[in-house]
Amino acid sequence: MKRLDLIFSERELQAILNTLEKANVPGYTVMKHATGRGPERVVTEDMEFTGLGANAHVIVFCEQEIIEKMREDIRSVLSYYGGVAYISEATPL
């Protein structure tokens, strides 16, 4: 099994979740209110009340083939709005 970590602006959350659902992931977890810094943007907690919002961190445990299915869609969302996505190995307990 794989673990996919996605970090991006909360405002893109719906677009990402739609992509995940389209690929039929078995489930996902969302943690909002994350902040951080990417190659160019800084996201700070004090700005969360403005329209910009904070980041969301999404974790998906799923098979490699599902990742293949959604790779392009996720990449296109992230390249449009920014954000990062990383895959690592994970074994069910």
Partner: protein, 333 residues
């Protein structure tokens, strides 16, 4: 300019709390107002100002000439100012950044408006409820203009996926959370005042009595936010820094002339000018982040929050007041 007004403004608790917030950050105090508390204050202020505005409009009557004229003028201003701003900003910035920043300065800041109301209050100058209608109406058109500028001025730069559809432009302009809450509360206030005066009384401890205190609390936070923008302001460059101060003054000048030609009372005139001079940090960033990701958010957010907002609530409001006092005769033309 009357120094007196300036001093009176600076010694208002709202402005003092704002300073305290700035100082806390500059001194590296670990004072913190954690999320989502600022959001709570911001939602409360929009709800309460909207509700109060609705009551005010019901009292002043919506369909009298001056009201309709003022509201129309407000909408026209929020269509024109972003166009003007865009032309100026294009001297230095690409279409995306120019459109996003211009939209922010065309739109309004509810808290700046509220501060102006408090200022009027402390000066015992009256203003009318329908000006909150102007507040509500001036948020969206500027977003609309900004997004249309992106759509038509930059068609070739953008890949297909980024095409702006009219539907999503309208959606971002009119259904943004803060626009929606303000407008909806305004309508509820109006309907309640019309049909249910008892319920108005029951709301007042929440929407009226508490208002000033929450405003102070929120301005404490805004002071911290503004001061935290300072480092990224430096990166923004001197052109943008000048823009963030000069554009509001310029808009205020247009505003005061329009207010004069509308024969507004001094109180309403100040509010009109402040609407023109203030810049948005709630609705516009939300819309631009979604639809124009090419624009650097630090440009439009650092300038509006780090510079224009503090300038307006500390210096701008008393300056605009003395401007109004000079240009607008106290008895109608």
């Amino acid at each position: 300019m009357e120094l007196n007004l300036l001093l009176q403004n600076i010694f208002a608790p709202t402005v003092l709390f704002f300073f305290i917030g700035v100082i806390a950050v500059l001194c590296k105090s670990d004072l913190e107002i954690p999320a989502p508390l600022p959001k709570l204050f911001s939602l409360y202020l929009l709800l309460a100002i909207g509700f109060k505005g609705g009551i005010g409009i019901q009292k002043s009557g919506l369909f009298n000439d001056q009201v309709l004229l003022t509201l129309s003028a407000a909408v026209v201003m929020s269509l024109l100012i972003p166009l003007l701003g865009f032309v100026i900003l294009r001297l230095k910035f690409n279409v995306f950044n120019s459109a996003a920043i211009a939209a922010a300065y065309g739109s309004i800041s509810a808290v700046t408006f509220i501060s102006a109301e408090s200022f009027l209050n402390s000066q015992s100058i009256s203003s009318d409820g329908f000006m909150i209608g102007a507040l509500a109406l001036m948020e969206s058109p500027a977003i609309l203009v900004g997004l249309l500028l992106v759509k038509y001025a930059a068609p070739k730069d953008r890949p297909d996926s980024r095409k702006l559809h009219l539907g999503s432009i309208l959606h971002e302009s009119f259904l943004n959370g803060s626009v929606f809450l303000l407008l909806a509360s305004l309508i509820i206030g109006f309907l309640t005042a019309l049909s249910n005066p008892l319920a108005v009384e029951k709301m007042k401890p929440f929407t009226h009595s508490l208002f000033y205190g929450v405003e102070c609390f929120f301005l404490l936070d805004m002071g911290m936010v503004a001061a935290q923008r300072l480092p990224s302001l430096k990166k923004a460059g001197s052109f943008l820094i000048s823009f963030a101060i000069l554009m509001p003054i310029f808009n205020a000048l247009i505003g005061v002339l329009v207010a004069r030609s509308l024969a507004l009372d001094p109180g309403n005139a100040l509010l009109f000018v402040v609407l023109c001079a203030s810049a948005s940090y709630l609705a516009v960033p939300a819309a631009m982040r979604m639809t124009v990701p090419e624009a650097r958010s630090s440009y439009y957010i650092s300038t509006t929050l780090g510079l224009t907002f503090p300038f307006n609530i500390v210096l701008g409001i008393p300056i605009y007041m003395s401007l109004v006092n000079k240009i607008i005769p106290t008895s109608p033309l």
